[in-house]
Symmetry: none
Amino acid sequence: MLVVHFHQLAFDSLTQMPRKSTTPRKLPQQDRSKITVDAILTATARILTQEGYDRATTNRIAELAGVSIGSLYQYFPSKEALITSLAEHHVNTMMAIIESKLKDLFNAPIEVVLHELVEACIAAHAVDPMLHKVLNEQVPRINNTNAEAQFTALLRAYLELHRDQIQPQNLDLTVFILERAVEALTHAAVIDRPELLSDGQLQQEITNLLLSYLVEKT
Amino acid sequence: MLVVHFHQLAFDSLTQMPRKSTTPRKLPQQDRSKITVDAILTATARILTQEGYDRATTNRIAELAGVSIGSLYQYFPSKEALITSLAEHHVNTMMAIIESKLKDLFNAPIEVVLHELVEACIAAHAVDPMLHKVLNEQVPRINNTNAEAQFTALLRAYLELHRDQIQPQNLDLTVFILERAVEALTHAAVIDRPELLSDGQLQQEITNLLLSYLVEKT
Amino acid sequence: MLVVHFHQLAFDSLTQMPRKSTTPRKLPQQDRSKITVDAILTATARILTQEGYDRATTNRIAELAGVSIGSLYQYFPSKEALITSLAEHHVNTMMAIIESKLKDLFNAPIEVVLHELVEACIAAHAVDPMLHKVLNEQVPRINNTNAEAQFTALLRAYLELHRDQIQPQNLDLTVFILERAVEALTHAAVIDRPELLSDGQLQQEITNLLLSYLVEKT
Amino acid sequence: MLVVHFHQLAFDSLTQMPRKSTTPRKLPQQDRSKITVDAILTATARILTQEGYDRATTNRIAELAGVSIGSLYQYFPSKEALITSLAEHHVNTMMAIIESKLKDLFNAPIEVVLHELVEACIAAHAVDPMLHKVLNEQVPRINNTNAEAQFTALLRAYLELHRDQIQPQNLDLTVFILERAVEALTHAAVIDRPELLSDGQLQQEITNLLLSYLVEKT
DNA sequence: CATGAATGAGTCTTCATTCAT
DNA sequence: CATGAATGAAGACTCATTCAT
């Protein structure tokens, strides 16, 4: 009960805008503001993915957003804050997908959970692979920490619950390996080998990798 | 015989990076030149790892190298060429380590090879983790391709030779998964959790991951 | 009628320089912008004439214009564009002078036309002799072409109309000689021997040169 | 007598290296030195004409000359001195041609002299038109003065001798006009309209221009 | 608040020239 | 003397950010 409760709370809170230091100067309370902010974020994402990080100057972003450079700085105190905001938004989107897929699986068997996990990760990475890549590379590690930490906690909780069914004993290591492996393989697949994802083969293979590691019968 | 021979030839050639595109402007012929080039590369690595990509301006690099900016451009036609050169140098160093550890293991059993592979990867990443991270993130994908491709070919050849002892049937997928998983986990460990590497636990765990995937007895 | 019409149209259009290639980056829309652009062009001309081409660095120009270097590049995409723009402006000014003096002379007798032509050229060169010299020497031939071509066409049309009154038969050669001679002599006079222009002597002499060539009675 | 004597002396001295401020650091007394100096001058001319003034860096010149940059500075104290030296050399060459053609024409009739003068000028410009153009544009007016002044003096002397056969009375103006007109027309022809020179038409026309001016019978 | 003109520190890069070997 | 490595002032240009309108 408790655990489940904790779980649901946690998952639900994944999408909450975490209170970060580089807060947008102004909460978009009015519609106009919200539209402007969205336009800016959308333009940023577009330039980042289609033209690369170097071309993503604030002036160009403002231009593509159909907004004056002054307005951009009205809503984002600095370029860093803008990028960070976009990154958080993107992470939240991805996490929301993963969350929705993993909801109610806390008591499901390992095979099912892993299968869904891999599927969810692939789906999340499919949202905007290039954006994810660029953000991953250029953003100096501020964000995801929060959302990721919650995810890590959940995964750990799940593994503890099913401890007797898995081989590895050091859960810290196990969580580390699971998380990183799914992320890396999913990301690599989406970016470098999208063709491998068309049929479910690679997905299955990744699932096998994790599954055999967790439940291998040596 | 032939296979082994091929193997050795291949591995030995991993470090021969044919410098084509971004060739250093002038091959250092005198001792003084060599010292200068080394100083520049060393300074570049130092700034990259300790101060970040943004601080790595050519003037600052020259300054830290104790060399005039003119000298820097005497040996590297552009900043990109300099970074590329450093990247190649670093990849070569890492590959040399991996090569030396995997030499003569072409006919060794899977457990041994995987064990050595993981160990070699960790060792390679330990050379200069931050540099590897920065280069991985910022350098627009020119390098490693070559050396990596050879490594991929070798791995594939090994798997083909031992095909009857492994579970996965689609070797393309398998190679993809093995490579990416080791790289990602090793990299992540060295960067984010170096403490996990002190005792051999994580290394063993990664080995287990790969091993159980390859030879699992479901 | 028609000819005269053509003539007037043509002359009127001499000053319309279609700015194509090296277009100013941003057309000044506000008053402030116009002032800035003017200041930059003025400063450029001043430095070019008073300090020479080598001293005409973009930073120095901006400084003398009392404008930041950023503003300079806001309106001119490159140094070349700036110089070109100034050159066009100057050629237009000179051509406007020549045009206004030669207007309505299409049917005038040769003596009058030549007299006015020389006078007009001298007047045009007197606008800013040093600037004309520097631009003539350093600017890689982009400009005048257009305006000059029209002038050439006009001159040729005039000569054709009066063909029976002139000695030379090959109009191509004649036009070439007339144009180059007036330009060269006028330019040389203004630059190297301004004192020769004070009284009308040299002007008269140049006129004689051209006149005797065109209508000589050998 | 006296006049003729003066004339010959003058013409003969046209080719003398005038004692200028920017003297080559070292007079090429030994063969080695002379060869080196020649190689440098030749390379300079080649780069200037074939690649343009911007590409003519001292290092590049030294390289093409097959000489070290240090050696270049052994013989020429500065880039300016090098260019100046080349310019003088070129002017001397051109003047030598003109001189040899005009030799012994001091008492010849005007028609002959003008004809030969134009021919000589065209021949002189044909030596290396591009070099002449580039030097004319870029070199800050140091040189020719000397040689040109002598030529001017000669021309003036000739006109004085034949004063009663020419129309213009102000010899200063006349000399100015003759010199500039031939130079400008010849130069323009060689550079912009070389095709006009193939048959003798343009040459004849230029001669006519000058002739009709000098001897016109209005 | 929106606008966009203006700012200027800071980047990469060149090239004439010097000087140790 | 020749060599060529080294120098560093200086130039063209960018871009995050500010502020007058």
